[in-house]
């Protein structure tokens, strides 16, 4: 029974490690300028966690196998070094390991979240609501029209509560249900939630930020690869949460300009 148990543990341990090593399921391709440290950090952590995982599981299995055998007369042995040794080992090995991880991780995090957006970053406003994203481009005048919450009406497709009759700035604002950005240009994304908590997550873009109702946050990023990607909501926001998404189109500058013209015509 004990031997079988030991073998089972080892099979499970190694079996669960195989898909990880083979990257059967792994992070999506990185199309951001800031994502590289994240991926490195991920592999680093995976290596260290994997080693700890395999080592301790296999050790557990070996001990179960070894010491469940009846050994009449044999006296009980203490682990070499005793508890003190183990504690020191834990502090040295795990301690240094996690502190190293923490330091590098903090560096990666800071490089993303603690840097200001570039001056020429393209401002785009995203509004999350149950259960869709809507995006607003400032238009030619480069300024967003003021938002009038009492005028927000999905029935009239006035998702941002713009008063185009009275606000000059609002007249040329471009509102779309999909997000288009030029490749290799920094985007300054202004995040606003119209109702409850939501989240803005594009796995390929290595971007993940919650919308906080009553508190407008902003993030900035640069996409490096043309293509179609999915923006998903990761913060439970109600019954339509699973279906709250939008498409992100990374396109060349020309395509982007044309897209803006096309959208402006639809307003």
């Amino acid at each position: 029974m004990a031997k079988l148990f030991a073998i089972t543990i080892i099979i499970i341990a190694i079996g669960s490690a195989i898909p990880i090593v083979q990257h059967t399921w792994w992070l999506s391709e990185d199309i951001s300028t800031h994502g590289h440290p994240i991926d490195e950090q991920m592999s680093e952590t995976m290596a260290e966690a994997g080693i700890s995982f395999l080592a301790s599981q296999i050790l557990l299995a070996i001990f179960i196998w070894q010491y469940s055998k009846p050994r009449p007369g044999e006296k009980i042995k203490n682990f070499p070094g005793g508890a003190g040794g183990l504690v020191i080992a834990a502090f040295l090995l795990v301690g240094t390991e996690v502190l190293a991880l923490g330091a590098f991780g903090a560096k990666a995090w800071a490089s993303i979240y603690l840097t200001p957006p570039a001056a020429n970053a393209i401002p785009i406003q995203v509004q999350a609501g149950q259960f869709a994203f809507y995006f607003r481009y400032p238009g030619p005048d480069g300024t967003f029209g003021p938002v009038h919450p009492e005028m927000i009406s999905e029935a009239n497709q006035n998702f941002f509560g713009l008063d185009t009759d009275h606000d000059a700035d609002a007249k040329d604002d471009i509102v779309a249900a999909e997000m288009a950005i030029p490749v290799n240009r920094e985007i300054h994304l202004l995040m606003h939630s119209k109702d409850v908590g939501h989240s803005f997550h594009v796995p390929e873009l290595r971007v993940h930020q919650d919308f906080v109702p009553g508190l407008d946050l902003s993030i900035h990023f640069t996409a490096t690869k043309v293509g179609k990607y999915e923006i998903v909501c990761t913060q439970l926001c109600g019954l339509g949460h699973y279906n709250m998404k939008a498409y992100l189109y990374v396109m060349s500058q020309d395509d982007f300009d044309n897209w803006l013209k096309k959208e402006a015509a639809l307003q």
């Binding site: 609501g129 999905e154 029935a155 249900a177």
Partner: protein, 250 residues
């Protein structure tokens, strides 16, 4: 012998009572289901307001349903010759209590098709059963929001593909109850709950209110953006009253 005679008497009396009651009821039904009608058309004068296009890109299924026909908002739909569609016409004055409270038996249908509501405006009688069905292969959510205090209680249910229809009714008169789909924010429609006979204009703006008993009435036309208009109509027994409306574009 004597007892049997008494029994006969009881049965006889009972039959008489039932018959009289029955005739009274029937008589009322006949009155309520008048055979007259009111007909006419609703038009829009001036240029129709610009209807924004609807971007369904959030749900690829919905997009596929309209690949070669871009969808527009349906707040103001103008048909051939300026006819206004989706206008609800109902009798706001002149009906007796019985006539107003008679409830039609047929169940009007509110379909979710291509991630839009058809019809955009569904008129019905108070306490008349109506049906919400879905023809789509994506999950929809139906969320009517009656005005607080109007006497109707809102609800919020989802309909996965192939789910059975939701059959229900409204307790109080209300023109009109806004209906939303929470999963597809652009999906928006109306329930117009009225007392007595009603009609909704077709694509060319024509309508006919059937089963109108003889009498003179005030007919009200309601359009979600342009508001209401009224007209006086007189209907002779079995005859046809006529009322045309023209809304001015804002």
């Amino acid at each position: 012998m004597k007892r049997a005679y008494r029994n006969h008497l009881v049965i006889l009396l009972a039959t008489i009572v039932v018959l009289t009651l029955g005739t009274v009821l029937l008589d009322q039904n006949v009155q309520a289901a008048g055979d007259g009608s009111i007909t006419g058309s609703v038009k829009l004068s001036g240029t129709a307001p610009h209807m924004k296009g609807i971007d369904m890109s959030k749900d690829p299924y919905c997009v596929k349903q309209h690949e070669n026909s871009p969808v527009k908002m349906e707040n103001v739909v103008v048909g051939s010759g300026g006819g206004l569609a989706n206008v609800v016409l109902y009798i706001s004055q002149g009906l007796t209590g019985n006539e107003a409270s008679a409830v039609p038996s047929e169940q009007p249908e509110f379909d979710q098709k291509g991630c839009m509501y058809t019809p955009h405006v569904l008129a019905m009688d108070v306490n008349q059963q109506y049906k919400v069905v879905t023809s789509d292969q994506t999950t929809h959510n139906i969320h009517p929001l009656p005005a607080p205090g109007a006497g109707n209680i809102g609800w919020n249910k989802s309909q996965p593909p192939g789910a059975p229809p939701i059959v229900t009714s409204w307790k109080a008169e209300e023109v009109a109850i806004s209906v939303k789909c929470n999963i597809h924010p652009w999906m928006h429609g109306w329930f117009a709950v009225v007392k007595g006979p009603y009609a909704t204009t077709d694509d060319s703006g024509n309508y006919t209110i059937k089963n109108v008993p003889a009498g003179s009435y005030t007919v009200t036309a309601w359009q979600e953006e342009l508001g209401t208009q009224t007209a006086k109509v007189t209907v002779s027994a079995g005859g046809t009253g006529k009322a045309d409306f023209t809304f001015k574009a804002k």
